[in-house]
Structures are given as structure tokens and as C-alpha cells.
Subunit: 316 residues, 2 copies
Amino acid sequence: MARALQITFLGTSAGVPTRARNVSAVALRFEQRAAVWLFDCGEGTQHQFLRTDLKTSQLSHIFITHLHGDHVYGLAGLLATCGLSGPGQLIRVYGPAGLPDYLEACGRLTQSDFSARVTAIIVSPGVIYEDEEFIVSCQPLRHRVPTFGYRVTEKERAGRFDVERAAALGIPAGPLYGKLKRGERVTLPDGRTFDGADLCTPPEPGRSVVYCTDTMYCETAIALAADADVLIHEATFAGPDEQLARVSLHSTATVAARVAAEARVKQLILTHISPRYTPGSDVDTNDLLREASAIFPDTILAYDFLRIDVPRHIAR
Amino acid sequence: MARALQITFLGTSAGVPTRARNVSAVALRFEQRAAVWLFDCGEGTQHQFLRTDLKTSQLSHIFITHLHGDHVYGLAGLLATCGLSGPGQLIRVYGPAGLPDYLEACGRLTQSDFSARVTAIIVSPGVIYEDEEFIVSCQPLRHRVPTFGYRVTEKERAGRFDVERAAALGIPAGPLYGKLKRGERVTLPDGRTFDGADLCTPPEPGRSVVYCTDTMYCETAIALAADADVLIHEATFAGPDEQLARVSLHSTATVAARVAAEARVKQLILTHISPRYTPGSDVDTNDLLREASAIFPDTILAYDFLRIDVPRHIAR
């Protein structure tokens, strides 16, 4: 059964928007749930929604990494627009201390009371959300202000019991099916024995997506990203500009690749690209990709509206 | 001498952005001064700058009509970006009470200290700014929150003294030129008399641009717009939706046209158009234009990136 988990990059520029890249935002769409989660919300994020088939009316959770403007200045406008689209929509916004104050001040001073529809939650390291299918956890990163990386982990899903095969084998429907579904061994009146595991498809491993921005190299990012299917990591600067990265507490493409390698993730996606790397400049975005790929081959460079279906890795 | 005064519409939608129209912002460019003034600053205004040849680095004055989100949510991002573009730029932001608090809260909670480069000024009715060439005044409008309309009035410019003609007439250069320049009458040693006015080009009347949004019909808008060259007035709703306009304290296209007619302006430009009027809907934006033009023929319907050179009306 396809339960697509889609990442859409809505903004991939660092600090300021450019004509090609908006400031930070990444959407995670749960196709079966008709739900969208958002990671960061730079100015113009609601405008980016308009250019995709993502619906702001499906937005239920927003995770903010930190309170720099290029990650939050789109929040008030997006929430105001969601409020106009229907009274029923409830949105949970997670982020560092200061986030509830920011939303309260924006709402109060612009006569937009978000409080009835929006719950702002201050996160601390560890699990911050859980439902039947997904767990969200966060860890502090290393930046100039309190910043958190987020991990969405899908729970393992039990295999599906093959009813048709059980019937074909002459196993009578009823309580025995329940036992087999739970993976137990049963013996029929005719003496034949069956192992539940043989009549179930293998359990589906859960997928995991990790979002780390803004940060310099840090152990907590590696721990958070351990064995993830997709790591989205900032790569504001190219290696030759390492000094700029150090001063501003950002990562080079090399750092992002090292984190990916040390966390043994399946795929790395670079984002939060400095606007200094444009076509025609001495160093361009392809250089960032080359730099990271030399260390971690399964690397992609994000661009606005890039869509990735998070793959399910059956064999581990 | 061309001293172009250009209006560029950066956002012409009411309440929420659409694919075609952003939320409110209008730029006024003073070509000779290399200066840009901005009226309102909805979310994504800095992005709209990127799609024009207007430079945020030339921005010196911002006038905010009121503190609804679709008029101010782009302010913090724009100011942050201006701060990154150079340390020297000073920006004055004018608006109703609450504006300084809004900027202070945005800056403090997102670690962006605007205070060194930005002065926020609470306006009250009357003249709020004056320099050698321009006067800006404001008047309260009628909306759900305190709202101001703004008028930019260019001062009349003295005519230019025709030096070549004076020389051809044999008038000796020196103190007599000064008198003639001031429009005085002089008598030469040879008995001939000259009137300064005959040797000067006529004074250039100043141009005026008025910006009224959001508001329902009000006398103060008419007084503010009296004899203006260009009146930019909101027309959120079409006549058949008058009830919606009344409830939300907005204007129909009819109201905008009445204000233009009663203020005897030269040209009316409709903006702040409800997103409900799209091509294919029962009432579309052409209907708004038709509705207003029937009352006030010199009407234009604004669209994003519409550019108007404010004409100089010599004969009055």
C-alpha cells in the first residue's frame, strides 16, 4: 500500500530571498492523512504554497528551528491566511522559547488573534510529538541563537496477514487467524502446524526524515540523524568560505556531508544556500554539490519546489 | 527637465496573496533623488522588489496605513534585508500608534535590532514630513482599526530664467539677472524695461499622489485627495457586494469613484482588490473597472508591477 511521504522544498536560500530561492521552509506531506507539516516558515512561505498543489488548509503542525527572521517571518501571514480559509483548522507550532511571545506580539499588534486556532509549544530535547504512526523528536544544534533540529520517525508497521493464502491452505477462519496475525504458531485439528510469520508479509520499516538548520558541525545533529532515510542539512557555504561559516556558526557543504556520513543516513539533501553562490560567480551551487558528494555520494542539492518521495528501505 | 515620479504597484490584493496579486504595497520612485518611498508593506514586498528594477537600497521612507497583517507583515523582512545590504542606510517608517511596538517586538524576538537604522514615527493628522521639494500629509480614514491615508505633494517649482535670451536681448549679466530671475521688472540704462516673468519659463506646478486604503467612504479621504493628480483608492468589493464592504469597512469601486469625483482628482487607480474577483467568476475585476469608470472615467485598475509616471498638469 502506497503511503507516500513527500518532501517539498519551499525555500532554500540563506538569509535573504533571491529570484530563484525563497528563505527557509520545507513541507512534509502525508498523502494518506491529507496532512501537511511544515519545517520553518520564512517570509513568503504562503506564497510558495500557492505555487504547488500543497494546501495550507491541510497544515496541522509547524516546526520552527530558531527565531531568526528568515525562518519565521512568514509565520504570522500564513497563520492569518489559514484563519481565513476556515474556522475549524487547528495548528500546532513547535519551536524554541520566544516563539509563543513572537506569535502573541504579532497577533496582538496586528489585531489577528491566533490563539483560538494556534497552539505554540516550546520544545526541549527528546520526543515532542507522537501519534499511532509517527514520532517527532528534536535536539539542540549549534548556532548563534537557540536552535533545534527535528526528526520525524515513522513507526514500524506490522506485516499484513495473507487471508487468501490461509483460506487456500484450509485454515479455518476464526480465532486461529488472530493468532497467526500476531505471528504465533498454531496447530490445526488435522495435525498440520503453521507459523504466523510465514503467513504475514514482512513488517514495513518506518521511514525517517531529519531537518538540521541552522548549525555548525555538531554531535547532536549526528545523533539525531542516525540511520535516517533522508537528512536535510544546511550547507550555507562552500569549503573555501569556511571562515565565513565559522564566524556565522553555519555549515559548509563538507560539514553537511561529514554529518551525513557519520550518521550513516541513506540520502543527504543540502539546503539553506548562501545567495552568494549564483551562476557565473567564482563558486556556484554545483561546487557545493561536488564538494559534498566527494565525501557522501548520495547527495542532492535542494532547489525551490524540489519534491522527494521518501523511499522505504526494506532491507537494512 | 524630467524629474520622473514613478508609481509601481507591488501588491494589489486584499487580505491574502493570490498567484497574480500580492498583498498591499506601492512604491514611489524619485528618479532624480535615487530614492524610493514605500506605502504599506505586505508580506513578500521584498520579493516583489526583486522582480522590478527598484532597489531596496534606495528605500528611505515607508508609510504604513494601518496595522493589519496584509499591510505590515513584510516590514520586518524588508528591514532585515536592507540591514544586510549596507550599514549606512537609514529608513523612516511612519504609521499609526502600535507601529513602533510592532517593530520593536519583531526585532527583539528575532534577534534583529532595527533600532540603529530604522526610526518609527507615529503619525497624527496633518503634515508629517517636509523637505525642499515635497510635503507628506495624512488624514484618518474609516476602517476597523486606526488607519491613515497619505498625500505626497510636490512643491511648485519656480520657472527657469532664460539666460541665452537675456544675453541676446543685450541685458548685461550681473545683478540685473538676479532681479529678473526673481520676477522683478528692471530698466536698462538704454531705457528699455523688462519684466522678469517674460524671461522665465512658467513655474512648474507640483504633482500630488494620494493613497487611501483601507477605508469605507469618508470625507477626510476627499479632503486629503482634493485636486490630486493621482488618487490610489481601495476598491475591495464590487457594487453588488456592497454589504460585504459595509460589514468589513471597505469600499466598493463605486465608493472609490465617488471619492475621486468629489475630490476632483485627475486620475483614479483602484487597488486592494478582493481575491474573490478572478477571471471566470460571476463578477471579475473588469466589472470593478467598469463600475468605477461609469462614475469617474479616468480610472485605471491596478495590477502587480503596473508602473505609472505621475504626469505634470501644466494648465489648471
